[in-house]
Structure formats: structure tokens, C-alpha cells
Amino acid sequence: MGKVFAFHGGIHPPENKKQSTREPIGQLPLPKRLYVPLQQHIGMAASPIVEVGQTVLKGQLIAEPVGRISAALHAPTSGRVLSIGPHPVPHASGLDSDCICIESDGEDRWVEHQGIEDYAAMERDDLIEHIRQCGIAGMGGAGFPTDVKLHLGDDHIVNTLIINAAECEPYITADDMLMRERADQIIGGIRILHHLIKPSHVIIGIEDNKAHAIHTLEKALKGCELNIDIQVVPTKYPSGGERQLIKLLTDIEVPSGKIPADIGIVCQNVGTMSAVYRAVHFGEPLISRVVTVTGDAVARPQNFEALIGTPFADLLDAANLYEDRLYRLVMGGPMMGVTVEHDQIPVIKTTNCIIAASREEMPPAAPEQPCIRCGMCEQVCPAELLPQQLYWFAKGREFDKAKHHNLFDCIECGACAYVCPSSIPLVQYYRFAKSEIRTEEAEQRKADHARQRFEARQARLEREKAEKEARRKARAEEAAKAQKARKAPEASASGSPELDLNALKTAAAVARTKLKKAQKALDAARESGEGDLSALEAALASAQTSADKAQADLDKAQSGSAAPAGNDGPDIKQLKTAAAVARTKLKKARDALKNAETKGLDGLDKLRATVQELETRADEADKAYQQASGANTQDSAGSEASEAAPVDLKALKQQVSIMRTKLKKSEAALADLEGEERAQAEQALETLRQRHAEADRAFKAAEQAQLDKAAAQGVDLKKLKVDAAMARAAVTKLERSLDKTEEAEARASLESELAAARRKAEELNETLKQHETA
């Protein structure tokens, strides 16, 4: 026996444990229906793997764990899955949550299962996985999945394993009875844990009010080679709190915000030990537990071995409930438990006690009175907090300050509220403040997350925009480059010859003018008979040769430049100009010839030859032009035909609507007219009507043709559906605007529109239905 230390505070409420320890653990008749909640602890809810109507056997896996902190669920008995859905669960909120409801077939037939013969020879991880698959969770309070605690040895050095057998809360005797009757199972479980965690020391902490249990444990421990101590601690609430028990047994305080494993200690409940033993040695998953049913309102307070999922009503029946005496049904102990309203709430892995209390036993809470700052709450607080201060902060909604005063170290044991002379429900205030802070933090996290997403989206949009811009720029640049590239060879091919051509043209023109001048001077000299005729004639001859030469050069250059131009395909414009130029030249030459003929001047032959040459040239140019343009018109005609081919429904529709408006207008005008004019107008109207009818017919025919085509190709159901939905939306929108408008005129037009929209929607719906049924 080692030394027992002390923790701060604590209280000594009436124990009320004797009532339920008189009888051994009882067996319950098999309940008709069992409700197994998917979430029985902190962490993730398990995910069901059975279907409604499926037959399950006892111990069959019905929901598997999701994520690390989660526990598997097994069918507590054989039967049929009735439903998977909301059912009242043991939770302070009184809300419904998803449960798997199993209707028992009364056979209680086990699924095939077998234990592990030599667990010591097994891989450590495999053994832990086996425990996880058996759905073992802490059976003391929070229901923390045991496998997670077993993995603590991976990254922590654990030297002490503490088995929590204190069971400090009044009324509860489930662990006490378990130790009395199944001490060997508990020791067996400790052996398995010892093998897994390999601590240097195991301490079983037990309160001194369980003499019988201490005795049986000691007997079971006899001859055990492991270093296991049973440490009896004085009875004081809440010595069963994990941190308080550690302080009691080792005098080490678990730092705020840390877990016991951080200081080398792992704590496990005795109930969990027995569950681990059964899981490993018999392969039985956690499907039942010991539950204390007590309180003044039951005739036979007793502990029962209850299947997980057994409704409280069945337990109360087994303990002979006095309906009329029942005032309050409490789940858990009187200090930390919660009042439940519904007796169909099922037993879960952490349900250790059900108290059916009479009014005298648990009277309604006295009205809250003002805090008198007596300081008694501080005296009893096992976590060494300042309950009074926390109360003020929670009441004033100053949650930040409450947090700074270590609100989250509060274990909600209720000692402060128990001693409070003003009957202030202190724990409720702390719970309220804690959940407010948690919600706020969750909201803050969500807001940060939303901001991140928003910013990421903004960045993405920005990036997309920039990319688009860059692509556009690149495209523009490329286009510019391509254009330049196209221009450059053109310039190099045609630029210089063009220049040359121009120069040559000018030169030829100059030469011709010179020739003309020389001719004129010669003519003038001849007429007057003065001057040096021979000299003038020589000058004329030289001018003639130079003009001829210039013309020849020009012709050559022109034919040269025409050739590359011809390569690019027939340049119609150029050809046209060339033909026109040729024709003008021909005309001019003809005129000159006529003139010369009438005047009887010299060089007629020469002129005639020129005219002939020009004629042939003009003919050639004309021919070339016609050829080129002929080819072109063929092309364009082809493209026009292809455009005209599909019936332009839209244009037709437009036409029809134009006609309709015209018709309407004329009809309106007709009303104003009288007499002869009227007759005329009527005639005009008639023709208009005819035209409208024709246009309408054409449009309808075109539409029908398209529809037929669509039908032939298979109707696009999706499109129809979309059209129908849009039509419906249009109808609702119109209805809404109709509701809003009050003007009679606007209303009338809206109503007609609405009617039209409705018709359309109906039609579309009809067709849609037809097609769908087809």
C-alpha cells in the first residue's frame, strides 16, 4: 500500500449506494426492440453497414467506425433491422439522433466469433485493431474509444496505468458489483493492457466504501506476477475524476490543456477492463454493460446486465417501477447526470446508472438567489478554479474573461452548485459559457475558412482574367506579326517593281511629251518654212527612239509585275483597270487615227499599227478580266446558296411579326377612316392580311419542318425539359409582377402575357410528358 495524497476541495454527499448492492447483477428479459445510437461518444458517428430489413446475428458488426476517434457498433441480439433513423438518445439536449432499430427474434443467436488464444504472441497493432473492431469504448464517462488510448504508448512514455474503480458518484454501484462478481475478468483485462502499454506500475484506485469489492479484487490478485497495487482512497466526491484520482494516487497534477499521457499516466475504467477481457478472450464485442437501476421510485433497486440499445422502460420494468412515485428520471448520477423526459431512450456504452427519483428524493431546484460571495464554491472546487468569478463572467457573457480564468478546466462535477447557499445552478452557467465559446470558435473557424475560400476564388478569377488577357494579347501580337509577315514579302515582291514601274511610266510619258514637242516644232517649222528642218527632224527621230525605248521598258516591266500578281490568283480589280485602260488607250488611238486620216497627216500606217496592237491588247485584258470574274461569281454564288439552304426560321418569324404589326396598325387606322377611303383601305388591308397569312404559313411550315427534323433525329428531351422549366419560371415571374402592379392597363397587358406564357408552359409540359411517356 502506497501513500494516498489529497486533492483540493471535494464534497461528501449522501452515498445512497446500499440500496442497489443487495442483489447480484440481474439478467434482463430480451427486449422486443433495441435502439443502437450511431453516436455514443465524442468524435465521429459510426457509419451503418446494414440495410433496413436485413437479418442480423448477435455480435454482428452493424456500423463501422469513421475516422480515428470513433467506435464500431454491433448488433446486441439477433433479429431484423427495423429502421435506421431518428430516435430519442441519451443526450442533455433531449434531441433525436440516428439509431439503428433492431427487432429481436428471441433466439439471441450469436454470430460466429472466437477469442484470441495467445494474445501475447500477437502483433501489438493487430491486437489493438481487434479491440477497435470490438467497439470497446471507455465505460466510465465520456466513452472515449479505448483503442485511441492504447495507441498513446506510441508517442508517449507511459510508466503508470491507473485503473479507475473509485466510482465516487452517489447511487451508482455498477462498477462495485462488477468488481464483486467479475474480478477475474477485470484482472484479465489489466493483463492485456499491461501487455499492450507495458507500464512499470499498475494502480487500482478504489474508494474505501467498497470493502467487498476490495476483498474480491485482492483475492483475484493473489499469485499475480504483475506489479499491481490496490490503492484504497477515502470516500470523497469527485475522487473518481481522472485528474483527481491521478492527484490522489501519485500527487502529480495534470497540467491544464494536457492529457495524463503527457505525464506518463494512462487511466482506464474497470468496466472497460472487463470489456477488453471479453473481447480478447472470447471475441465478444461490447454489446452489453452493467447498469444500476435505483431510486425511490423503483421497488427493487438492482444492477442489471443490459444490452446496449435496451430502452430505459425495460430496465425500469425489471426493477418494478412505481409509476405514481416517479418524479424525475435521471441518466447518470445525481451530480453529473441529466434529466431525461423519455423512457424509450436506450442504454448506451456509457450508461452506468438510471435513477427513478421520487419528488422527495430530488425536489425541484430552489429558485436562484443572488450570489452572496460566501466563497464556499471555491473551497470545494476540485479543479482549484474560482467558480464565483466564472459565474459572473458567464452571466455577463464575458466569455473571454471566463476563458482566461480557465473555464475549460472545469470538470462540471457540480460540487460548487451542491454547496451554494443561494442555489445558483453554477454548472449550468459553465456549460452554457463553454458551449457559447465553442460555438463562437466554430463560427470563427468557419468564417476564416470562408474568407480563405473567398480569397482563393478571387485570386482564381483574377488569374483567369489575366490569363485571358495574356492570351488575347498574344493572339493580337501574332496576328500583327502574321500581317506584317504577309505584307513584307508583298512589299519586297511588288514594292520595288512598282516603284520602277512608276518611274518607267514617268520616263515614257516624258519621252512622249518630248516627242510631241519635237513633232510640233517640226510641224511649225514646216508650215512657216523657217529654221533648220533637218536638225529638227534629227531631234524628232532621237525623241522618237527614246520614247519607243521608254515604252518598251515600261511594257516589259508591266508584264513582269503582272506575272507575280497573277500567282496570287486573279486580281479582278487590277484586271478590270487594265482592261479599262486598254479600252481608253484604244479609243484614244482610234481618235488619233481618225484625226490623222481627216487631216491626212504622215505616220498613218504607224498609227494604224498601234491601234491594231492596242485592240488586241484590250481584247486580251477584257478576256482575262472576264475569266477571272466569272470564276469569282461562281464561288460567291456557291456560298450564297449554302447560306440560303437552311430555312432562316428567325428571319421568317421576324417577318411574320412585322406583318402582324402592320396589319394591326392598318386595322387601327381603318377604324378612323370613312367612305371611299375606307373601302380602299379595306382592300389594302385585305392584301396585307393575305400577305401576313402567307408569311405565317411559310413560317409555320418552316417550323414544322424543323420540328420534324428534330423528331427524326430524336427529340432532345433535355432541351424540352429546360424549355418547360424556363416557361414555368416565366409564368411564376409574371404572376409575381402581376401581384405587384396595380395599374389597370398594365395589369391587363400583363394578364394577357401571363395567359400566353401559361399556354406555352402547358403546351411544353404536354409535349414533354408525351415524349417522356414515349
Partner: protein, 199 residues
């Protein structure tokens, strides 16, 4: 006379030295951006709903930093106004009803058989919480939805509903202990009598 000049010179010298130190510090320890905007932005609920009249929470935070009213954020409600008042050391005013009223937390829900797959809501969602593609049914990622309402208007077939977030065991909160009338010790009996009557 020399003492006066010495004193002036010394003071001048000190002024120059400190000036240099301050000048260096202002460059070396320069704070990028406006830190108060970040602090305000952290308090806003980040729904990006635009009910305040600004295109998102950050622009509103900037506007507040420049002296705009702090009561234009309906999604944040009174809690946000109080937090902002606390941060900026101004009076907490009630929510400006012109910008909307404080509503319970909502989440968008798409009636999937009516969705025509137009992607308009996807483009409207500021936090990319809607999943879908053209001509494919869309759906809302409930965990990411901020309940900003912005997707409801663009839907051509009105198939988006804003539904209040359901209270489940996961998000249930302990209620505040009922505010009982404050009694003094001598009132105790009367209070109990009242309660008994009620029972």
C-alpha cells in the same frame, strides 16, 4: 553665453540623433497595409453577402476603418457589432434595419430535380460552395455554405431555397440558465410556494 550656445547645440544634436533613429525605425519597422482593417475583417462573418452595400467583407472592413457605421452587417448581428465596438472603442448601436435583419443561420438548398444546370448560381457563389457543371445537376456543399443568399436571385427556375440550419446533437448549445427573478433570502419561501402552485 557659451553655456546657452552649448545647450542649444546639445539639444540640436540630440534632436538630430533621435530624428535619425525615428526615421530609421519608421522605415525598418514599417507595417504593411492597415492592421486595423485585418482586425475588423477577422471579426466580420465572411459571408461575403454584400448586404452592407460593399462587395464583400473586406471592403466593408476598409470602410469601417475609414469611419463607416459598424451596424450594417445583418449576418454578424448584434454580436459582431459588439465585438467591433469593443475593438474600435465606439458605442455599440443596434443593427441598421435598412441593410436587413438578423436571421437564424441559413444554408442554401437546391431542389435537385428542378435544377436545369445553368451554372448561374455557381458563378454567384462567393465561396465556391456549389458543385456542378453545365447541363448537370448542381448541389450545395452544406459545410461550405455561408448562407449569403447570393445564389437565390440568379436561378432562372427558382429551385434554390434558404433553409435554417437544423439543430442536431452536434451543434446543440446548452441554454442559458433561465433568468429567474432575483429573490432575496426572505423571498425564498414565496418563490417555492409559487413553484409548487405551478406544479
Amino acid at each position: 553665453m557659451t553655456t546657452v550656445i552649448t545647450a542649444i547645440l546639445i539639444l540640436f544634436g540630440l534632436a538630430v540623433v533621435f530624428g535619425i533613429i525615428l526615421g530609421y525605425a519608421s522605415v525598418r519597422f514599417r507595417v504593411e497595409g492597415n492592421p486595423i482593417v485585418d482586425q475588423i475583417d477577422a471579426l466580420l462573418p465572411q459571408t461575403q453577402c454584400g448586404q452592407c452595400g460593399y462587395p464583400g467583407c473586406r471592403p466593408y472592413a476598409e470602410a469601417i476603418a475609414n469611419g463607416d457605421a459598424i451596424n450594417k452587417c445583418p449576418p454578424g448581428g448584434q454580436n459582431t457589432i459588439e465585438a467591433l465596438a469593443d475593438l474600435l472603442d465606439v458605442e455599440a448601436v443596434p443593427l441598421d434595419s435598412e441593410h436587413g435583419e438578423e436571421k437564424p443561420k441559413m444554408v442554401a438548398f437546391i431542389r435537385e430535380d428542378e435544377c436545369i444546370g445553368c451554372t448561374k448560381c455557381i458563378q454567384a457563389c462567393p465561396v465556391d460552395a456549389i458543385l456542378g457543371a453545365a447541363k448537370q445537376m448542381h448541389t450545395v456543399i452544406t459545410d461550405e455554405c455561408t448562407g449569403c443568399d447570393l445564389c437565390v436571385e440568379p436561378c432562372p427556375v427558382d429551385c434554390i431555397d434558404m433553409i435554417p440550419v437544423e439543430t442536431t446533437i452536434a451543434n446543440w448549445k446548452w441554454p442559458s440558465p433561465a433568468e429567474s427573478p432575483s429573490l432575496i433570502a426572505t423571498d425564498l419561501g414565496r418563490g417555492q410556494a409559487q413553484q409548487q402552485e405551478a406544479v
